[in-house]
Amino acid sequence: MARKLILTILVLSFAMLELLAVRQEQINTVHAMTQLHRKIDASNEELIAIQIQIEIACSPSALSTNVALAKSTNEQQ
């Protein structure tokens, strides 16, 4: 009877500790997820910024200006 009581107390205590650990793990996971999402968002933002820069640099008007500049430089040389 007594042994069963001790065992029950120990098992319950262990279970509570495990529950606490699981909850803490959940918090950590949510935190890690949030960090990851923020990184993804930041990367996406950077990607968009780079895409826009590429688009500006490769626009027909920019290309024709650069080609004309390169031609005139070559002619001068």
């Binding site: 007594a2 001790i6 107390i9 968009i48 826009i52 688009e55």
Partner: protein
């Protein structure tokens, strides 16, 4: 009971008492803290919930090849809470350096709005400024995320694409038309903060994820748009015109590849095309290719010519009594003038040489209803339903007011006003099998059902195209003929109507040219309208607008890798 059993029971009871005591103490502490927390603790542990918005990124507007025409990125604006500023001078000095603003100005703003909780100091910070602000440790400063709309190609197709307002909603052009599709749904989450405003918890239950807006892909091709805009601008400047409009379309699919509208205000000229909205922002301007009808002049002749031929009102080789010297007189004694008098000419020559007299003669053989039907067949007087706001139906004389004067005028492209878009749509019938396609500005997919309307038979379409090929080699389009590709087209020169309705200017014109290429398998249809060119420089459609159409066709077909004509290749290989 043995000694060991007794000991075990005692240990168990002790443990049970200990655990129960600890739990009881914990519960007591929790209850007491909840019911009557100490003032010091209360001050330190106040939890503040704040709802944060997660900005949804507005969708991109792409051209037909996936190039970005408009895209949103996140930026930051700087705000300050002046009510908790401790040292106005110090913060103004530090912010002045970062924002490149006079510190005195910042201090004045802060002192004036001392009781405000939210004052925006900069609506958009650069990357460097954001980094610099982050190094400051003022509690009163805050960075707020905002969306910034970027247009990487500048003003190319600006009026078509439109723009967004401060709330990032579309105000004009495609930004406005596809606003619902482009706009996403912002997310939100609730932060639990401690007394130092640090986030301690974000509950997953209070989190609504954002949903970014969808992209919209247009039929516009940036390269062709650039070609069209550049060629048009150069010609408008060269002939000191009041403005110019150009449309490039793919007749096969009805997709618009480029559309540009330029205004060129000139000093000392009366009645110039104007648009007050463009002064506010060029992207807010109306798109005159859609909104402003014009008198097409001789570019309208192929439409009437083809229907008259289909109805059997004249045969291609039939010789008509066109005048040798001086104007032609109609049955009602109306005088019809030609640019040159060729004497009796074939119906074919009437179109090639753009003879008003020949058109008047055959139009008199048609009934009013037949001519009105000819106009309707190609979609004139009706909306193209392209989807942009402010579209005009054009101006067509009502059947009740239609008389013989109208009958002869319309056959020459007078007493009728059409939009450039309607002209392109109608002209596509000659580049196809006689059907008029539904024009579109959004990229079509294979699954899209194409709506067409029959205007003329395939045989008549091919015949008219062939004769318009001769316009380029023997007629009014000679100066606009391309060396590389065989074009078919028609020029038009109409007098500029007076705005007050008192007739036409004697020496001011609207020059236009419409053409398609290559003649055997048309890939492009291009219309150019030059508004009110300086007559001393040039005013005929064939000499002013024609070369623009030729250049745009040549450059665009080269870009689309359409091989030049066999004749050109043979000459080039010699």
């Amino acid at each position: 009971m043995s000694n060991s059993n007794v000991r075990t029971i005692r240990v168990a009871i002790l443990l049970a008492v200990l655990v129960t005591g600890l739990m009881g103490a914990s519960i007591y502490k929790i209850v007491s803290l909840k019911l009557s927390p100490p003032a010091q603790l209360l001050a330190a542990t106040v939890t503040v919930n704040s709802t944060s918005r997660q900005l949804a990124i507005r969708g991109r507007i792409l051209d037909r090849k996936g190039r970005i025409l408009a895209a949103s990125r996140t930026g930051f604006k700087l705000f300050i809470d002046p009510s908790i500023v401790e040292d106005f001078e110090m913060i103004s000095f530090e912010l002045g350096e970062i924002l490149s603003m006079p510190p005195a100005e910042i201090e004045q703003i802060l002192r004036m709005k001392q009781n405000s909780r939210y004052v925006v100091l900069s609506s958009l910070l650069s990357k460097e400024q954001v980094l610099a602000i982050n190094t400051l440790s003022y509690r009163c400063l805050g960075l707020e995320e905002r969306l910034v709309r970027e247009y990487p190609h500048g003003d190319i197709g600006g009026a078509l694409i439109g723009l967004v307002g401060t709330e990032h909603t579309g105000l004009a052009g495609f930004e406005n038309k596809y606003n619902n599709k482009l706009t996403g749904e912002s997310g939100k989450f609730v932060r639990s903060r401690d007394s130092k405003r640090n986030t301690v918890w974000i509950s997953p239950d209070d989190f609504t994820p954002k949903s970014d807006g969808d992209d919209v892909q247009l039929s516009i091709d940036v390269v062709i748009q650039e070609i069209a805009s550049t060629c048009l601008l150069a010609e408008v400047k060269r002939c000191n015109a009041g403005g110019g409009r150009i449309i490039v379309a793919d007749p096969e699919t009805g997709e618009i590849l480029a559309m540009a509208d330029i205004l060129n205000p000139r000093e000392g000229w009366s009645q110039q095309p104007e648009d007050p909205n463009r002064i506010i922002d060029p992207r807010l301007g109306r798109n005159r290719c859609i909104t402003d009808p014009y008198e097409p002049g001789s570019t309208f002749k192929p439409f009437i010519w083809s229907v008259a031929t289909e109805l059997g009102k004249a045969k291609v080789d039939e010789i008509l009594p066109t005048p040798t010297n001086g104007p032609y007189k109609t049955k009602s004694n109306r005088t019809i003038r030609d640019a040159y008098y060729y004497g009796p000419s074939t119906w074919e020559k009437v179109l090639i040489k753009s003879m008003n007299s020949g058109m008047a003669i055959v139009s008199q053989r048609m009934s009013y209803v037949q001519l009105q039907d000819a106009v309707k067949r190609f979609g004139f007087g009706q909306l193209t339903h392209i989807g942009l706001g402010g579209e005009s139906r054009g101006i067509i004389t009502s059947p009740a007011n239609w008389d013989e004067y109208t009958q002869t005028s319309v056959s020459m492209g007078h007493e009728i006003a059409v939009t450039p878009l309607q002209m392109v749509q109608g002209f596509c019938a000659f580049a196809r099998n006689g059907t008029v396609p539904q024009l579109q500005l959004k990229l079509s997919t294979d699954e899209d059902v194409m709506f067409v309307r029959k205007a003329i038979t395939p045989e008549i379409a091919a015949l008219t195209r062939k004769i318009m090929g001769k316009v380029m080699t023997e007629g009014t389009g000679m100066r606009s003929q391309s060396e590389q590709y065989k074009l078919f087209g028609k020029s038009g020169t109409a007098q500029l109507p007076r705005a007050d309705g008192s007739g036409y200017f004697d020496d001011r014109y609207i020059a236009s040219f419409i053409a398609g290429a290559p003649i055997d398998n048309p890939k492009l249809v291009v219309l150019c309208v030059i508004d009110d060119p300086d007559k001393s420089i040039g005013h005929y459609g064939g000499t002013v607008a024609g070369p623009v159409v030729r250049d745009v066709i040549e450059q665009s077909l080269n870009y689309l890798r359409v091989p030049p004509s066999i004749d050109y290749l043979a000459n080039a290989s010699r």
